[in-house]
């Protein structure tokens, strides 16, 4: 499998993702946002960070950058796309994923380990997990509060598009363990077609024992 990690001005998790992907046998190239051509890739990763300083709306300016036209074409052809944190914000701004990510309800930047439940393990990104597995992965964001109208939420539920939900360590999805105010405790969703995945937690920060946890590695192992 070959992956391309898109680097925007202000991306800061790009190299961590490359290390994680390569650790699990995925050959990875770094692609600058102003490039016009995406090399042949099975997977495109939009990394975390603060692309364009989060100006206007998080991810909005990155979503209009030159390489994104190629990323959109890649996804329309069925290629895999994964957006982590700021990458998830870019994906909703390009409308490759529905809904939006707004300011955390407590107005604070939250940087801590949280637990998420894998509520859909039948995806290209979670296939190596068991359904309802609880993963401990860090989050680090200011705008991770997933918002969508009722109809869209119903649609996401009906199509099994909600992949990760914030939960307690026993796997209960409660209001107390919702860090940012996301509707339905949403931490990660997939598109209808099943090839575009966005998530706020950082699996690349939990893919090495030295970093204090390995739970994120299951996402990289699932990629196929």
């Amino acid at each position: 499998m070959k992956a391309s990690v898109i680097v925007f001005p202000g991306s800061n998790c790009d190299r961590d993702i490359k290390i994680s992907l390569e650790k699990f046998g995925i050959k990875t190239s770094m692609i600058w946002h102003a490039d016009a051509k995406l090399p042949k890739s099975d997977l495109v990763v939009l990394p975390g960070g603060f692309s364009y300083g989060d100006y206007l709306r998080c991810g909005s300016i990155a979503s209009k950058s030159r390489i994104m036209k190629e990323v959109i074409t890649h996804s329309k052809k069925g290629g895999l796309v994964m957006g982590i944190c700021n990458g998830f914000q870019v994906l909703v701004e390009t409308q490759l994923l529905p809904g939006v990510l707004i300011r955390n309800i407590n107005l604070k930047f939250i940087c801590k380990n949280i637990t998420v439940k894998v509520t859909n393990n039948k995806t290209n990104f979670t296939s190596k997990t068991n359904r309802n597995t609880v993963l401990e992965i860090p989050i680090a964001h200011n705008e991770g509060n997933y918002f969508a109208n009722k109809d869209l939420i119903n649609e996401l539920e009906d199509n099994n598009q909600i992949v990760l939900q914030y939960c307690d360590s026993a796997g209960n999805i409660t209001e107390q363990c919702n860090p940012n105010g996301s509707i339905k405790n949403i931490a990660g969703i997939i598109n209808k077609k099943g090839n575009v995945f966005g998530l706020m937690p950082h699996p690349e920060r939990a893919s090495d024992k030295l970093l204090g946890g390995m739970d994120g590695s299951i996402i990289f192992k699932s990629l196929k």
């Binding site: 206007l56 909005s60 209009k64 309800i105 107005l107």
Partner: protein, 81 residues
């Protein structure tokens, strides 16, 4: 021609920043605020003499970049200098 674009959150979208500002104002003694919503304004000067054309360009800018129509509404007007 000078244009003003105002982008506001749609009614049913939560505005945590607006609520924080409202409660701060209320703590400062402004007790009669019923509701407060935060938005953004943009001032754009375009090389265009035709007001209709300028406004329609500004609308296009809103729909393509300045506003996220999932959560935001926008309005555009010209400003006389």
């Amino acid at each position: 021609m000078k244009l003003q674009v105002i982008v506001t959150l749609k009614k049913d979208v939560l505005d945590p920043q607006g609520s924080a500002i409202k409660s701060s104002l209320s703590n400062m003694g402004f007790k009669n605020i019923e509701s407060l919503r935060q938005g953004k304004t943009f001032e754009i000067i375009v090389k265009e003499k035709d007001e209709k054309v300028a406004l329609s360009k500004a609308k296009e800018m809103c729909e393509k970049l300045l506003a996220n129509l999932t959560i935001e509404d926008y309005s555009v007007r010209t400003i006389k200098e």
